[in-house]
């Protein structure tokens, strides 16, 4: 047994050394019946331990087998005591195996892989049994595949002999790595080692083209088989190919083997007067193998301990149709669309019978009543009775029905389209209800009447006590907001383009854009100091008297005011929030279209050398030194302190008409003549944050409320839209924009609707001025 251990050790060291390998060969030559062992030995590369044991026992334990084995078996069997007929001498082989297995158990008892090996051994044995039916009979099925048993049984199977021959004939492997997975050498540049321990280099594989060429050139190319283990091409001989063909056909590979050889009766009893029995061995004489029982016990134990898992869970396919309906895969077309089977025609029932039961047949009254029915309601088929099938006339509706059926087939839906089932309501973003966003202007309570033509522009003072309006009738009117009383009228005689109240309450002054002039009027409101301050500002300074190419500052005698004359028509102008500067827009001025004027010094300057397009509006940032210049398609933001362009807004509009800035200074709304309004969050992007198409005609003006989160737009369609526009100080939160109300009331005159809209500076009220010469005040 010591030898067994040593052997095992040497074996387990790795690839077999050249000294070791040829060792079994002499054994083969010595012993006649051993060849099976050799086969096993060759196999043993796959499971070295067990087969080594087999070899060992075959080699060393052969001599002591007899006595020891029998003695043991006898005692063991007595202990079992479940066999009726015990024949110790005959089943020595079983006992022998038993002993060896016992040894194994001693050596490594709990090693799981060992058990697995045992099982493997067992299974290969069983395979062997299947293959070698003849031996099996003799061994009484107890030595199941046990090589020693076969060796013991004297029967020499010709097939086995052949096999042993062929294995002998086999060219020894060039590669000596043994039965290890070849992928271990996958990334190496050698495939293994020669028996001298030299590396075998990988050969360059031929590519497909080469293979193809070789196949066309060499007639024997097809015989070649690539031996992955030795990394060489082997040319099969004719015999080998024949063998393969026979295997494929399910025949015995060797042609010379006759599986149906005449039966040779090994027991001679003709001349023996009284044969023992020619009857086959009775079943009761069967003694189960103890060795086998022990193996079974081991397997059972392994199963119980969970080393062997018998029913492995079925492997699920790695990829599967996620949305597939397992049952109805056949219903799926190649596109994965479910199709609908063509509608089936109704099967004929009793009604359609030639001889229907009486209750199906309508009475004549009923038949008559059908005639009064509508065509659609009328039954298509009236059951009628015939004495015999032969008398049934031709079916009059046959053609019709076929046609209808064709129509049905033609029009029937062929695919089941998966329409998403959702409520359209859910698509609308969840916005708060306008009711919860009060206050906002909703009802018109006041009307300021007095103008005779469209009111183009409006402005309020900083407290919201007064309202100034400019109109096409050439007048500027000053209104008391609360009472609706017109306090003052300045008649310019020319169309008023823009009216802007100076935002500084200390400079209570009104700027009016008329034709080519900007006229600065004193409102004569406010305290005495304010009035004195304004009148001092409105006196012409000496410096301003100099002729300047940009603008001429002069006195207006009629209104006792300052008049800034420019070479082009001033369309709009806007005050800086401190009230000292104002910027004018004269779109025709091209390079001189935007001028910035300083009130205290009475000077004008042109900050821009050129403009990219026709300037429509300008706007001062409410806090910082920025100037917004809106051309027809873009808004450019200039930093006045650094005198450079700081941002350009891509408006996606074609005709900007109006612009308003949020009092926070980060949000801008633009109205356009294509009736679109866009909201810019300038912190977010230079592209519009949101666009509204809430009007049907040109937007005339847009406005922000100074304190309430409100903004509005008015349009030539006669409506004014009021929106909730909440801007959060948290930069992560986008502005919340909710349409609140559409204010109607202004009439459209000459395709002009609402000309201007303006929020009251302190109340949630909105002034709108219309082409119908009325100014309306909408209150919350």
């Amino acid at each position: 047994m010591a030898s067994v251990v040593t052997k095992r050790k040497t074996r387990s060291q790795g690839p077999p050394t050249p000294e070791e390998k040829p060792k079994p060969k002499p054994v083969v030559e010595d012993d006649g019946p051993i060849p099976e062992v050799i086969v096993a030995g060759d196999d043993s590369d796959s499971d070295p331990e067990i087969s080594t044991d087999g070899e060992e026992s075959g080699e060393d334990g052969m001599s002591e087998e007899g006595g020891e084995g029998e003695a043991e078996s006898g005692s063991e069997d007595e202990a079992d005591g479940d066999d009726d007929d015990f024949d110790g001498s005959e089943y020595g082989s079983g006992e022998e195996g038993d002993e060896s297995s016992g040894d194994e158990e001693e050596v490594d008892e709990d090693a799981r892989n060992y058990v697995l090996d045992v099982m493997k051994d067992f299974l290969t044995g069983a395979v062997g049994t299947n293959g070698e039916g003849g031996k099996e009979e003799e061994a009484n099925g107890n030595g199941v595949g046990e090589p020693e048993g076969e060796a013991e049984g004297e029967a020499v199977n010709p097939t086995a002999a052949e096999e042993s021959d062929s294995s002998e004939d086999e060219v020894p492997d060039r590669n000596t790595i043994g039965d290890v997975p070849l992928e271990w050498y996958k990334n190496e540049d050698h495939i293994g080692y020669t028996k001298d321990g030299l590396k075998i280099k990988k050969q360059a594989r031929r590519d497909q083209l080469d293979t193809f060429l070789a196949r066309t050139e060499d007639a024997n190319e097809w015989r070649k088989v690539y031996d992955e283990y030795n990394d060489e091409e082997v040319e099969l001989t004719k015999e080998e190919i024949d063998m393969i063909r026979r295997l494929r056909q399910g025949k015995i590979p060797h042609a010379e083997v006759n599986p149906y050889e005449p039966y040779v009766d090994w027991f001679e009893y003709e001349d023996k007067g009284h044969p023992l029995s020619s009857a086959p061995e009775p079943k009761r004489r069967f003694i189960p193998s103890k060795w086998e029982a022990k193996k079974v016990v081991k397997l059972v134990r392994a199963i119980r301990k969970g080393w062997i898992k018998l029913d492995k869970p079925k492997e699920k396919p790695e990829f599967y149709l996620m949305w597939g309906d397992d049952l109805k895969t056949s219903d799926k077309t190649a596109n994965g669309l479910a199709y609908i089977a063509a509608p089936k025609t109704k099967l004929p029932g009793h009604e359609e019978s030639y001889n229907p039961p009486v209750e199906y047949i309508p009475t004549p009254e009923e038949v008559k009543s059908y005639e009064s029915m509508y065509e659609e309601d009328r039954p298509k088929f009236i059951p009628t009775r015939f004495p015999s099938l032969r008398q049934v006339p031709a079916y009059p509706r046959y053609i019709n029905e076929i046609f209808e059926r064709c129509l049905d087939l033609y029009l029937c839906p062929r695919q089941k389209k998966d329409r998403k089932q959702f409520d359209p309501e859910t698509l609308i973003p969840k916005l708060p209800k306008p009711k919860d966003l009060q206050p906002y202007p909703s009802t018109c309570y006041m009307e300021y009447r007095g103008h005779n033509a469209a009111v183009t522009s409006m402005s309020t003072d900083s407290t919201g006590e007064w309202l100034a309006t400019g109109s096409m009738d050439g007048t500027v009117r000053l209104w008391d907001v609360q009472s609706g009383r017109c306090r003052k009228v300045w008649d310019f005689g020319l169309k008023i383009n823009n009216v802007q109240w100076n935002p500084n309450p200390q400079i209570n002054m009104l700027g009016v854009a008329v034709d080519k002039d900007v006229v600065l009027l004193s409102t004569e409101l406010g305290g005495e100091e304010v009035i004195a301050n304004v009148s001092s500002l409105l006196t012409l300074k000496e410096a301003g008297a100099e002729e300047s190419p940009l603008a001429t500052w002069g006195l207006d005698e009629k209104f006792k005011s300052l008049r800034v004359r420019q070479p082009f028509v001033v369309q709009s102008f806007v005050w800086h929030h401190k009230g000292d500067y104002f910027a004018t827009v004269a779109p025709d001025g091209i390079t001189k279209s935007v001028l910035v004027h300083q009130l205290s010094k009475q000077q004008s300057q042109n900050p821009f050398r050129k403009h990219h397009g026709r300037v429509v509006r300008v706007l001062f940032h409410p806090q910082r030194p920025f100037l917004f210049v809106a051309t027809k398609m873009h808004v450019r933001i200039y930093n006045l302190a650094k005198q450079q362009l700081s941002k350009k807004l891509m408006t996606s509009l074609n005709e900007i008409s109006s612009m308003a800035i949020h009092p926070g200074g980060d949000n801008l709304i633009l109205g356009s003549q294509e009736s679109k309004m866009v909201w810019f969050d300038m912190d977010l992007s230079t592209k519009p944050y949101k666009a509204f198409k809430n009007h049907t005609k040109d937007i005339r003006a847009v406005a922000f409320h100074k304190t309430y989160p409100l903004f509005a737009s008015c349009s030539d369609d006669g409506t004014t839209s009021v929106f909730h526009g909440m801007v959060y100080s948290d930069l992560l939160q986008n502005p919340l924009l909710v349409p609140l109300k559409i204010l109607l009331g202004h009439k459209t005159v000459n395709h002009k609707g609402v000309m201007d809209c303006l929020f009251h500076p302190r109340q949630p009220w909105l002034f709108t001025s219309g082409a119908d010469s009325i100014v309306k005040l909408y209150c919350n």
Partner: protein
Amino acid sequence: MDTTNGEEVVERQIQVKFVTKLPPALRVVSSAFAIPAKLGRYGLSEVVNTLLGLERPQPFDFLIDGELLRTSIEQFLLTKGITAETTVTVEYIPVVLPPEPQQPRAHDEWVSAVSGFNSKFIITGSYDNHGRLWNAAGECVVLLQGHTDCITSLAPIPAPGSSAKQLQLVTASKDHTLRFWQVALNEVTSSTTTLKPSKRLKGHTSSVQSVAASPSGNEVCSGSWDASIKLWSLRDEPEGEEDTGGKKRRLETGAVSSTEKQVDARATLQGHTQVVGALDWSERETIYSASWDHSLRTWDVETAVNTHTLTSSKALHCLSVGGEGNALLAAGGADHVLRIWDPRLPGTVAPVSQLSSHTSWISACKWHPKSTFHLLTASYDGTVKLWDTRATIPLVTLTQHKDKVLSADWWKDNNIVSGGADSQLHIYLKLNLSF
């Protein structure tokens, strides 16, 4: 309940007992009557008239549980949840009939303020910068000339004892000042005399929107567009005594002098953020103010501290304190609803009642000086309405004005005066109020 035969519907009847506070000639027997439940005010009035057997039928209004009957009795009881099984006590009062409109008094400009404080004269302030005194005959007897901008509000000063001889008033104007006027009533003749102000109250930095005089007559408070309320003392300094005499002298001589005395504010109440639209100083220690910043504030005069704040949802233009316990605040503004708050109710800021019948802004509201239920409102829709707080429908609607009504007041308890944007002062006489 009696069921008449035939197909007539079963007619419910209700036991009713009529009571009244009217003189004995108009009292009915205090026994209960069964009357049809579907009777309304008119039907009940007929019943009472029949019971009284008056020669000339007189219309009555009916009160059940302190509320005026405006529907049928049955419906009233249903909505109020009163059982119809018991005897219902119904109080009847004479119906308030529309007053008789008088010939309007024309002004040069819009009439912005009107007061019926004095029983002999009606005071008006106008957008032509002048104040006027009208006598009962409809003649303008005094022209108050002194403001340089339109008068927005005026407040007659209660002067105990001397009311018969002298009328004092303060006017507020858009010229940022208030002026104090003293009119010697015994000097007044039927021809128009021009009067100059005796004091100029200067201090506001913006238009003065509202003014109210203290009950003692020594002080006035004014609210302005500069969002402050200023207190002014009218009591003359020791040397001022002569001045008063001097003014009288001037008035006698009719001399025009620009030596009006300038008065500075005694205190400023800061708290409102927008224009103070209306003020009320009917209690000695408390000033009520209503502002466009939607708040109604109560101020303690001594400490000049805001003691209580009520918030409305709309800008407020007018305010009146009165009604039950002289404590209800009625205020109207940039809305068509008149709201009444009860500041005595703890923990509530919601109005106790809302009277809505106007169609435009309410420009003025005034509690009746004696009645606890009657209230007058003027609106930009051109109407003056008389309300009874026991009903939600106005008692009387006066539609004489052709434009916005800017101001309205009671005059001699049962007459109404109102002025508006049609530059007319309208006087409605003989309103038969019962209180």
